[in-house]
């Protein structure tokens, strides 16, 4: 399953990763090799097989909708690359 350069660049954009030309070429080769290998799954007839998303049969694990202790703003912001008052500072979203 050979990926094209365009496909690799598209995937990189979906993943918000800036790739160098060298990385792009390397990934075209390596990802294609891995996906090629994974083609073996097509040997198997899975039409009647349900997918396993998680191995436990847990469903809808909920808790009471009551406030619990949580991090203080200072704790939550302690590792922030940029902080303004009690906010994470980010670059402009709107022009």
């Amino acid at each position: 399953m050979a990926l094209s350069r365009e496909q690799v660049l598209h995937i990189a954009e979906l993943a918000r990763l800036k790739l160098t030309d060298q990385e792009t070429d390397l990934f075209v080769e390596q990802l294609s090799a891995i996906l090629d290998y994974a083609q073996q799954l097509n040997d198997l007839d899975t039409d009647a097989i349900p997918p396993t998303a998680q191995v436990l049969s847990l469903r809808n694990v909920m808790r009471e909708d009551e406030p619990q202790p949580c991090l203080t703003p200072d704790e939550a912001l302690a590792n922030a690359p940029a902080r303004q008052d009690d906010y994470f500072q980010v670059r402009a979203i709107l022009e």
């Binding site: 993943a15 990763l17 990802l31 090799a33 290998y37 191995v55 436990l56 808790r63």
Partner: protein, 484 residues
């Protein structure tokens, strides 16, 4: 015997009898770290002051009459598990200097139990890898041959145990990351059943596969550490609300009358002959101990690699989306727009293997490809689980090799991702099927350890530990130490 060479259970006896203080034990282990760490490079972070403070506190608690199983015992924690007050990097530059504001549940439990936390061990970046060569900081070395890999991703913890740089350790396992390094380093490593140990505070790699577990010097220690961290946690919605049986109570019960299954698909071409021999030899030991060996078939074993390398990267691509330079971690300073900031932060912060897996996972989940790759892999996962259900109907536990070869040289496989992935072919299946398993030493080839896996039913850690312990009692591999 040197204090640093003690096991948890030996240390417990001496501490309880008042013959040893945690301060002396911890000092001995810290001195050991000083003596060998520049060669082994197991730790990303050692906190001497904090460890000695933990030790002093433990001695005081003991003097006041307390005696929990881990009171005063010095332990190491893999650096994908958050520790308040100690940096947690996940082996990545994107979290360089990150100081978690909270402790993982397992760390809370260790602290409540009075354990001494020595520091954080090296890991492949975000637990993605089989050798620690993907750590952005340095590669750890196998104490049995420093030119070889210790395995991964919990290679730091396994190397630290093999080198007596801690009395016990925690690792994490998504596709073999506890068991494979335990196998390559000649120590014991248990992957509990998915849902058994809370993932609260384990930096997520693949949320349906990750589990925290012990890497220790012997099976008894694994049981002790497992009992200390297992159990329901309401903060982890995937942790099960089931009582944890006392695996220590049945540990010495032996294998008389038990049926042990050997899946024929685990003996493959390309396996190192001495590895196969060691496992066959171990099977005769089990027979001598009274077990019946039955051959079973797990026909989808060959497909585990493909399933894993579609599901795990897919889940990882979602879990690693949080690393965007906004709330924590590395943040590119030069970008002018928000989105350029994301692209550059992640490009600079992540290493090659992490990028590769994020790319693979993003592709497998993307529109037009989801059915062919991700959904298909989930369906084959069901077939793999069914293989286990059928096999474990015929026996109490499965015996298999842990890895196809002994430890290879540092640098040998790093340029060939697929070759690297093949070192996990015997361990991936357990995470996919949601069962538990342990690796224990069963021999040597040219001075390098060989590991054997005991695999068991979901939530049946007690049987897995008991079967492993029976072999350990009849052998001496776990007593060997590398010459450092």
């Amino acid at each position: 015997m040197e204090l640093y060479a003690l096991t948890i259970h030996e240390a417990q006896d001496l501490l309880a009898a008042g013959e040893l203080s945690s301060r002396d034990l911890t000092t001995a282990v810290l001195d050991r770290i000083d003596a060998v760490e520049n060669r082994v490079k197991a730790y990303l972070h050692v906190d001497k002051e904090s460890a000695l403070a933990d030790a002093a506190a433990a001695d005081e608690r003991r003097a006041a009459g307390q005696d929990q199983p881990l009171l005063g015992v010095p332990l190491a924690v893999k650096d994908v598990i958050v520790t308040r007050g100690m940096p947690t990097t996940c082996g990545s530059k994107i979290l360089q200097g990150f100081m978690p504001p909270y402790d993982a549940m397992v760390v809370e439990k260790l602290r409540a139990a009075g354990a001494v936390i020595l520091g954080k061990t090296n890991t492949d970046e975000f637990a993605m890898g089989s050798t620690t060569e993907n750590s952005r900081y340095f590669t750890s070395h196998n104490p049995w041959d420093l030119s070889r890999v210790p395995g991964g991703s919990s290679g730091g913890s396994a190397a630290a145990i093999a080198a007596d740089e801690c009395i016990g350790a925690l690792g994490s396992d998504t596709g073999g990351s506890i068991r494979q390094p335990a196998g390559l380093c000649g120590v014991a490593g248990l992957k509990p059943t998915y849902g058994r140990v809370s993932r609260y505070g384990l930096v997520a790699f693949a949320s349906s596969l990750d589990q925290i577990g012990p890497i220790c010097k012997d099976v008894t220690d694994c049981a002790i550490l497992f009992q200390a961290v297992a159990g329901h946690d309401p903060r982890d919605a995937t942790s099960v609300d089931m009582p944890v049986p006392d695996s220590l109570a049945s540990l010495e019960a032996g294998v008389q009358g038990m049926r042990l299954g050997v899946p024929r698909e685990y003996f493959v071409d390309g396996m190192q002959p001495e590895v196969e021999q060691a496992i066959r030899q171990a099977l005769t030991v089990y027979e001598r101990l009274g077990a019946e060996i039955v051959e079973v078939s797990m026909p989808h074993t060959d497909y585990c690699l493909s399933v894993y390398y579609l599901l795990a990267p897919a889940e990882a691509s979602a879990n690693l989306a949080r690393f965007d330079g906004i709330r924590y971690g590395y943040s590119d300073a030069d970008a002018t727009t928000l989105w350029d900031g994301y692209r550059a932060t992640r490009a600079e912060g992540f290493g090659a293997e992490v990028k590769r897996r994020i790319m693979l996972g993003t592709y497998a989940l993307s529109a037009g490809y989801y059915d062919a790759y991700y959904l298909k892999a989930q369906k084959v996962r069901t077939l793999i689980k069914q293989d286990y259900d059928r096999a474990l109907e015929q026996c109490d536990a499965l015996i298999t090799p842990t890895t196809p070869t002994t430890a290879f040289g540092i640098g040998e496989k790093i340029d060939n991702p697929l070759q690297m992935y093949l070192s996990d072919i015997f361990t991936l299946s357990l995470n996919l099927a949601g069962v538990c398993g342990i690796s224990i030493p069963c021999g040597f080839a040219d001075g390098l350890p060989i590991g054997m896996q005991v695999q068991g039913n979901a939530f049946d850690e007690a049987t897995v530990l008991r079967v492993a312990r029976a072999y350990e009692r009849a052998s001496e591999w776990h007593l060997a130490r590398p010459a450092l």
